[in-house]
């Protein structure tokens, strides 16, 4: 199998690292080799968070080389843009539309970039973008906190992603706190269906 690289980019508190762990756990369940890197920010909440997930026999290093991401899974628009260094024309960007305004914006009294502005920046690197309304889908599943599972579901529907959806769900069931599992499985399914629909439309 050739390697498959995913960058997960979000904000502390969004469950980005847990999502990355789910992907890595599912890959190992399938007998694949994987690396999941984490940078634990200085504060517990609110800082930018990035995790690189790499799957494949030839994978040694923790981080993804510039331009070599197969998928950039953006949990938040600004953080998606901030991690475009990993993207190139081959990269599929899957982006949550839910904005988390950095405190700097309030302090400078400036507006958050519009969706069009964000998309224009992404298009400098790649034309392949799927936008996911993860907040809306998570709410539908039963908890606004389940956005990370929506995005995991979205990833599962991406063409070429080497891990089965069932393995992801199995890992999710193991790793999420028991009482939140059902909501997150629902969120996963909604995320997966939304990307499938998008794919069929395109």
């Amino acid at each position: 199998m050739r390697e498959f690289n995913i960058v997960l980019a979000g904000v502390g508190g969004q469950g980005t690292l847990l999502a990355a762990e789910v992907i890595g756990t599912a890959a190992v369940k399938e007998g694949l080799n994987a690396r999941v890197s984490e940078i634990h920010g200085m504060a517990q909440r609110g800082g930018a968070v990035v995790s690189d997930v790499r799957i494949g026999d030839g994978v040694f290093a923790s981080t993804i080389l510039e331009g070599q991401a197969d998928v950039l899974l953006g949990f938040e628009p600004l953080e998606t843009v901030r991690n475009l260094r990993s993207a190139s024309e081959k990269t599929l960007v899957v982006m949550n539309t839910q904005r988390i305004p950095p405190t700097e914006l309030a302090a400078r009294n400036t507006a958050y970039p519009t969706v069009e502005e964000v998309l224009a920046k992404i298009h400098v690197f790649t034309s392949k973008v799927i936008v996911v309304e993860a907040a809306e889908l998570a709410r539908k599943a039963g908890s606004r906190l389940a956005q990370n599972s929506v995005l995991l579901g979205a990833l599962a529907a991406v063409e070429g992603f080497p891990v089965k959806a069932e393995s992801l769900v199995e890992a999710l069931r193991e790793l999420f706190p028991k009482k939140h599992v059902e909501v997150n499985v629902r969120a996963f399914e909604l995320g997966r269906d939304s990307v499938r629909k998008e794919r069929d439309r395109v």
Binding site: V28, L65, E66, L175
Partner: protein
């Protein structure tokens, strides 16, 4: 932590995904290590935290020691009674423990003893990026460097074994990318811990008076020679790839980058992977040097391997051509080594063209991120430190000097507070403040956290009383070692075994040290706290002010557990959008949308600080004034 259950599984050959630090915890269980001590610090914390969760179940003893020095002392005591022990710390922790470690190499140990040092190239969460492999050289101790989670587990077990064989402590040196990368790990057999030790009086061995130290130094050097023989035979030092175009010698996460960089360039490289990097396997390295026309040493931070390999070459393979970072400038000595940096260096050395145009990517990238708002770490919504900094800045203003310390509260340097003028290492704020106060006469307010106060603040405080320094020590007590994951400390009344213990109160410690003015305030009662701080600044000698309120994340968890609803604060129609709340507090829950201030109800923890400071009384919610 669902993984603690996974860690305990008695399932040899099972393959699971583990964090490097969790793999070390599993190694502890497979080696039958019975005493684990630590002081939390990124990127080492999960080793102790994983063990703390399961210690009583497994029957081993675990403690969060007050600092790294004491952690080594406790473990060394146990190891000298024949019990297997391990101490985990971040790299700078080894500076604190160094006095103990370097002479412990003289006395040696009876039970296997491993010191894990987790280094932090790139300073992701540290004040420096020192290369702790030099401690192995300095102390003459064996050193192992894993490159992934599987090796982290295996080397933990191996380190215990060679420690017992050599009767020496062994350093296990990880880096952020090893400790904080998850990878597949195959389990081995679990080994029951054995906590029962016996102490045998042996003055010549254990009492390091000069007459005993001199012969023990010789013993240590003899053991180091034996360690070199082990290194020559070690399964962790080996040629993992053959290829004649060029030779690469590498270790740790740099090895991972080197292998991928060589593939990227299509290099037929021979690779000597070093897992035991002190003492180095001289014979093995000599053979490798002789087998390749040119050898590149790829390592992170200092040219630790390169210096020694060049010294080996001078004696045994004088015609070898060795490239690295010492004079060739092919790789940087600072920061994290990445596949890109290694590939770039290898490309310069071999004249092979890079298949990726990194510069083009950089140009495009700098274009899209130009003007992009940054998202640095911030104090959480509801963080009691925000209230403390608001009070401190209000009273001290631009007049006072603010020595700062290590913890979440280091974020006080950022706007809007700017509280934090000098920060070096754990506990230093109190001593540095005294020096500043003596020579400037300015009001000096040292801010230090609760865990940091116990770790290294107390000697500084005693010094302030003894030498009558005019300084206010503001202890920001959020009842946890918060930044590293809410570990308990002596002021919490809980232990690493998750049992209750005597709670040591910071104010009592301060009084015991002889401080005449000691007060405890709730930082959210800003008026009262400010009045007390003003009074503290009037004192002729040292004053201690404890700002006490629990970490907001712990508080929220506790409320959730008890089923108490958090009722977020709300902006009423009285709001004039004067932005005072934003200017004064910089709380991430207060956002501005199209010029209008709004409180994000999902982020707000209802601390009420904004309710207190709003000049128009326009924020509704509970307030602790």
């Amino acid at each position: 932590m669902p993984y603690t259950k996974v860690l305990l599984q008695d399932a040899p050959e099972k393959r699971v995904l583990l964090l490097g630090n969790e793999a070390i915890a599993r190694g502890i269980l497979e080696a039958g290590v019975s005493v684990v001590t630590t002081y939390p610090g990124t990127p080492a914390s999960e080793i102790g935290d994983s063990i703390s969760e399961i210690a009583s179940q497994v029957g081993l003893y675990m403690e969060y020691s007050v600092n790294e020095m004491v952690a080594v002392e406790v473990a060394a005591g146990a190891a000298n009674c024949g019990v297997r022990a391990l101490t985990a710390m971040k790299h700078v922790g080894l500076n604190v423990a160094a006095d103990m470690v370097i002479t412990l190499a003289y006395t040696g140990v009876r039970g296997g003893y491993v010191i894990v040092t987790a280094d932090d190239p790139e300073c992701y969460s540290s004040q420096n990026e020192q290369d702790n492999r030099f401690y192995a050289l300095l102390a003459n101790l064996p050193c192992l460097e894993p490159s992934n989670a599987q090796e982290a587990k295996e080397m933990t077990v191996y380190a215990v074994e060679i420690s017992e064989k050599l009767e020496l402590p062994v350093l296990l040196r990880t880096t952020t990318r090893v400790s904080h990368t998850r990878g597949p790990v195959t389990y081995g057999e679990l080994r029951k811990p054995n906590l029962k030790g016996d102490f045998a009086r042996d003055l010549k061995r254990l009492v390091m008076v000069p007459a005993n130290s001199r012969p023990k130094h010789e013993v240590l050097l003899n053991q180091a020679t034996k360690a070199r023989e082990i290194s020559e035979e070690s399964p962790f030092n080996k040629v993992v790839r053959s290829g004649t175009e060029i030779g690469i010698i590498s270790s740790s996460s740099a090895y991972n980058c080197a292998v991928e960089a060589a593939s990227l360039l299509g290099l037929e490289a021979g690779v000597l992977k070093l897992g035991m990097t002190h003492p180095l396997p001289e014979k093995m390295i000599t053979e490798f040097l002789k087998a390749h026309d040119r050898v590149v040493v790829v390592e992170e931070l200092e040219p630790y391997l390169e210096m020694q390999i060049k010294a080996i070459a001078k004696d045994y393979a004088p015609s070898a051509v060795i490239h690295g970072k010492m004079n060739g400038q092919y790789f940087p000595k600072e920061g994290e080594l990445t596949t890109r940096l290694v590939a770039t260096g290898l490309s310069e050395i071999t004249n092979k063209k890079l298949p990726i145009n990194f510069r083009r990517i950089d140009e495009k990238y700098s274009g899209v991120v130009k003007g992009l708002p940054s998202r640095p770490p911030v104090l959480c919504a509801g963080c009691p430190h925000r209230a403390s900094f608001y009070v401190i800045k209000k009273v001290g203003g631009e007049r006072a000097v603010y020595p700062d310390d290590i913890g979440c509260y280091a974020l006080g340097i950022a706007p809007p507070f700017g509280v934090g003028d000098i920060m070096i290492c754990m506990g230093a704020s109190i001593g540095i403040g005294q020096g500043i106060s003596k020579v400037t006469g300015r009001d000096t307010i040292a801010t230090i956290g609760d865990s940091t106060f116990f770790h290294a603040g107390i000697p500084g405080l005693v010094n302030a009383v003894y030498n009558n320094s005019r300084i206010v020590v503001a202890v920001l007590d959020n009842l946890a070692t918060a930044m590293t994951g809410h570990q308990p400390h002596p002021g919490t009344g809980m232990t690493g075994m998750q049992s209750q213990t005597e709670r040591i109160l910071i104010e009592k410690v301060a009084e015991g040290c002889g401080v005449k003015y000691v007060k405890v305030v709730n930082p959210f009662r800003t008026t009262e706290a400010a009045a007390t701080l003003k009074e503290a600044l009037q004192q002729p000698g040292p004053a201690v002010l404890v700002f006490r309120a629990p970490c907001t994340l712990m508080n929220a968890r506790e409320k959730k557990r008890k089923g108490v609803d958090i009722k977020p604060s709300r902006i009423s129609e009285k709001c004039t959008n004067c932005m005072a709340c934003i200017r004064l507090l910089g709380c991430p829950a207060i956002v501005v949308e199209e010029g209008t201030v709004r409180i994000d109800e999902n982020s707000c923890s209802a601390c009420g600080l904004c309710v207190s400071v709003c000049p128009f009384g326009a924020i509704e919610g509970s307030c602790q004034e």
